[in-house]
Every structure is written in structure tokens, then in C-alpha cells.
Symmetry: C2
Subunit: 123 residues, 2 copies
Amino acid sequence: MKISDFSIRSGLSIDTLRYYERIGLLPRTARDGGGRRSYGPDDLAWARFLGKLQAMDMPIRERLAYSRLRSEGDATLGARRAMLEAHRAALVARQDELHGLIAALDGKITHYRERETQSGDSQ
Amino acid sequence: MKISDFSIRSGLSIDTLRYYERIGLLPRTARDGGGRRSYGPDDLAWARFLGKLQAMDMPIRERLAYSRLRSEGDATLGARRAMLEAHRAALVARQDELHGLIAALDGKITHYRERETQSGDSQ
DNA sequence: CATTGACCTGGAGTGCGCTCCAGGACGTAC
DNA sequence: GTACGTCCTGGAGCGCACTCCAGGTCAATG
């Protein structure tokens, strides 16, 4: 698959794909005769998983650490699982935080509604 | 209150307080005789609310827009409420997204556990 | 076989949100 | 009255995560 198709299918821009490869987040992609990148299905699964880690707010340094572990093979399965579990805990904490913040926002919004009624409905 | 105390009580660093004032996120703070900032309780409530908006991932441009509306007085109550409601919706959407991502992560973690058992327990 | 469009590389530029620094002023404690 | 700590300003620097650019190569199309 050429980079333009892979970009669409992975959800990562062409520039981002090349950038990720440069910093080692994606392994060096296979090239065709003319030196162009040629992506396979495995690349797609990995790129999509990286996209998920990004959507989970995992910083690039951590994704890089994960990626390096992955490239070392099955010996690092435990370490990778530990990383994911730690990140899971962070996401749950963030969920809880959001819960509280939404509640606070609701209080503020209610407060605004009351002030608007007081100042606006008298006329 | 002097800036060092205000920094502690607001949770914003001294540099951040000055930076926020520079860009107009905090209104120009009152000064004492010697030109030093002198914060009052109202400043604290506002700074803390700004901190909450930040924790809600509201970008600085939006906080700035909100801040400008606030400085225009009660005429902008409706507009401010609309901003908060829009942001509330974004937070709820993010919560849902996190929910899905955590589920995906759980699947991956389970998968890792299985692979670890297969490769590790045989010895 | 010439043009076009997609691709390549290395490197520079961007936007965000601070954070740090130099050089100077003030005010409190000794 | 001087030393020290805290504050001031304007401006530079930083880390993140891309995004864009110049200059060049290559493959397919008319």
C-alpha cells in the first residue's frame, strides 16, 4: 500500500507517518523499487494502535518507549502490559476528574441560568 | 495578598500569573505603593475558576474569549453560559471516548495476559 | 519522450503554553 | 545603611507534536 492510501486508512497524515518513522515510532517501512514506502497490513494494525494510544493522551515519549519494547519481541510482554495497565489507571483517574469537573460546570451553568432569569425576565 | 501567597492559593505559578495578566486572561492586578501586585479575594475566585477551565482542557484562546465576555459584564451572561454548555458537551463526549478507549485497553491487556501465560508458564 | 503528479530527503517553521533570564527596584532585618 | 529576599519588566528560550518547504527522483500518461 502506498503512503497516500495508508494515510487515509490509518488516520495519520502523510507528514505524521514520515515523522513517526524518523523518530522510531514506526519501524522503517519497506520500500519499493523506486525507494517509495510500501506498507503492509501489519503496519496498519500498529499505526492504528498508535493512534489509539495518542487518543488516550499517551505522550510521544511513552509511545516511543512502548514501541521500543515491542521491537524487542516477546521478552517484553510483561513490561508492555505494565505500561498499558499504568496508563489505564491514569485514564480512569482522568475519567473521575472529568466527572467532578462536569458537576462543577453544571453548578456554574445553573447559577448563570438563575442570574439570567433575574435580570432578564423582569422586563 | 502578594504574588507568592496568591500563587500557592490559586495553584498557578508566579510566572503563569504574570503571563496570564500579560495576555489578558487575568485583568490587570492592583499594585501597592512599590508597584508590586496586590491580589484580593475576587482575584482568587477567578484564578481558581480559570484553573478549572484549564483542567477541563479548554484552550487558552477560549479561556481568553470567556474572560473578555466576563469583563463586559452581565450583558454577556447568556454568551458565557452558551460557552460553558458547549464545553460541557465536549467533556461528556470525551468521557464517552475514554470509556471506549479503556474498554479497548482492557481487551489488549487481557490479550497480553494470555500470551504471557502461554509463553511463560510452560517452563 | 515530455509532462504531470506523487513521492523522496533533510531541515526549517509553527502554535501552544508556559518558563526562564537579565537587569533593576523595593523593603525589611540586622 | 547595607545585605538579602522578593518583586518588577521585556524579551528570549523551551518541549511537544507536528507541518511545511525546497530541491530532487520516479512512474505512468498522452
